[in-house]
């Protein structure tokens, strides 16, 4: 039986409620498929830790995580005690950057049994992948304030794109599209308004496209693209986007399929030089924390993506199948119109395995 070293970081808020359900499901599936997960439970990378230590993580966090095979991550953020930009830049965004998890892969899929907020759409109609650049672009702390506190205060925020960073995410997306039956790739752009970086993204996409003559490339400005997620979600196959645009699209897409409580994500360092990180798209959700009503599916599906990335495809498929079954049969958490608790739904999924 194979052994993998997994760092388990629940983080804050509902991250702490959904993580136990992912562990429960993993334990069931690993038993069935004879996989050994050696778990390291971590209480840092959380706002509780910050409150006690004045920092989100110990200084040697990188060494402690470097030889893990993967990181399973809940959610970070507790704005009442730590401002979001401090908690996130002190944890998740550092993982993504320092471990060069340059692909953020976010499947968007309308499941059987999930009420769709879009009229007249049924399971199967919506099934696409958002490939988000995950380490650079609009997410920076470069820039600053001048004349701070005065009438003439000016704030500069810099976005930084590298050819290396952009080309590799484009290539990854083209490769994915090439493997799919529709072979269609949408590029999120805004070259009509954002006049330096976005025309350049268009150019890079055109150049990378020459290597993929069988993939159809469609460039869409982010404004109309967002509108089309609502109006024509069936037209998308693979969508590639910068860090910010990918962030927006990967919340909007899942909203169109019912609830962001289902949406998983894989923060990948595809070459495996560093550990990859798997987390639900939803955040720590302070507004519902403490009531045990968070939907555990996004977290469990993220754990399934982790197994897939580790090469355990059969275990991934079994987990996904259990999720599909429970979405049809129930029990369901309130975001799905049900009354079940996080635990009820997690237990039901684990039992199906």
């Amino acid at each position: 039986s194979k052994t993998y070293k997994i760092a388990v970081i629940p983080g804050d808020g509902i991250g702490k409620e959904v993580m136990p359900e992912a562990l429960r499901a993993l334990s069931a599936v690993c038993q069935r498929f004879d996989i050994l997960l050696e778990m390291t439970h971590i209480d840092w990378a959380s706002c509780d830790y910050y409150t006690q230590h004045g920092t989100m993580m110990p200084d040697d966090w990188k060494t402690r995580l470097a030889d893990m095979d993967a990181i399973l991550f809940g959610a970070v953020g507790w704005p009442d005690s730590v401002p979001d930009h401090i908690s996130l830049w002190g944890s998740l965004l550092q993982f993504r950057r320092e471990f060069d998890q340059y692909i953020n892969l976010r499947p968007v899929r309308l499941f059987e049994g999930v009420p769709c907020p879009l009229a007249g759409r049924k399971a199967g109609d919506i099934d696409f992948l958002v490939v988000r650049e995950n380490t650079e672009g609009e997410y920076t702390n470069l820039g600053g304030r001048i004349f701070a506190g005065t009438e003439r205060e000016v704030v500069i925020q810099e976005s930084v794109f590298t050819r290396l960073g952009t080309d590799r995410v484009l290539k990854y997306a083209f490769e994915l599209a090439k493997q799919r039956s529709r072979k269609h790739l949408t590029l999120a752009t805004k070259s009509n308004g954002i006049a330096i970086s976005m025309p350049w993204w268009d150019e890079r996409a055109d150049e990378v496209a020459t290597g993929y003559p069988d993939v159809q490339l469609d460039k869409q400005h982010i404004d109309i693209l967002s509108a089309r997620f609502v109006l024509q979600p069936d037209r998308f196959d693979v969508v590639v986007a910068s860090n910010l645009f990918g962030d927006i699209l990967s919340d909007l897409g899942p909203a169109c399929t019912g609830t962001i409580g289902l949406a998983p994500s894989a923060n990948l360092n595809p070459e495996g030089r560093f550990p990859s990180l798997f987390e639900p798209v939803h955040g720590s959700a302070p507004d519902i924390y403490g009531r045990n009503i968070a939907n555990p599916v996004a977290m469990i599906w993220s754990a399934a993506l982790m197994l897939k990335f580790l090469g355990e495809t059969a275990a991934h498929d079994a987990l996904l199948h259990a999720i599909e079954t429970v979405l049809v049969q129930g029990p369901r958490t309130p975001d799905l119109g049900g009354q079940a608790s996080t635990t009820d739904m997690g237990v039901a999924i684990a039992q199906l395995i």
Copy 2:
């Protein structure tokens, strides 16, 4: 009877198809309310003009437009002959900036008779205003490329926010919210990821908020905010956003109410130092141009907003009422599920006045 000087700029694509319908409706309503519009028809600020002259506008465009009372604008963009960033920065984006049209006001409303892409929503459920900063922020041509054309190419794009520019749009939004019954204002932010400018937007909003104790301020990250436009559109009253975020939200909002073919916008210089500009949110739509099937409502509603801004409230109300009636009775263009032409729908609206 009052006289106003109006510059009429159809621009490109369907801009040229919907503008005649706005003029038809204006002519009907101005006759009824004894208003005189002195129209100046302009063929520049179009890609046709660019193809002939190598520039989007004549050098003295600013003088020619400066003493207009308003600009009625169709759409600009014809990417097959002129790249979007050239055509837009050479026209619309220059108007907004040089005429200091710092408010872009975009109503989002679900009308009776319009099929809603969101399940279970009816007319009246969605009725909010997007207030978009319109002159600065993410829309700049500042930055550049270094090591261009090589493996180590780096592209920097700068966003620039001023206290003056940010505070005035926040104040405008708070004033609007204060006048409405729900007195609720949502701020689009992304302070957890965009670490310089967005925490500063949060701070500015908090400071401006102290002057509006009766308005409830709700800050939401742009990713989850986009999701909520789909999941809970009824919770919004006034939404204030930076240039880019406002651009996205003001296409997404109208998509949630059926079609961006309805969405108008007012690019305002509220003090009237420069002419304001009124245009549909949809662009030139090369994909449907030439078939006379574009929905003229967004353009006609934009003309109505122009009348309102000029102080002709009764004429605005009459136009809006005619729009409402035709949306219920038909005729309807294909985006509304009908088979009527642009002209059919425009004529029907004009006849109702």
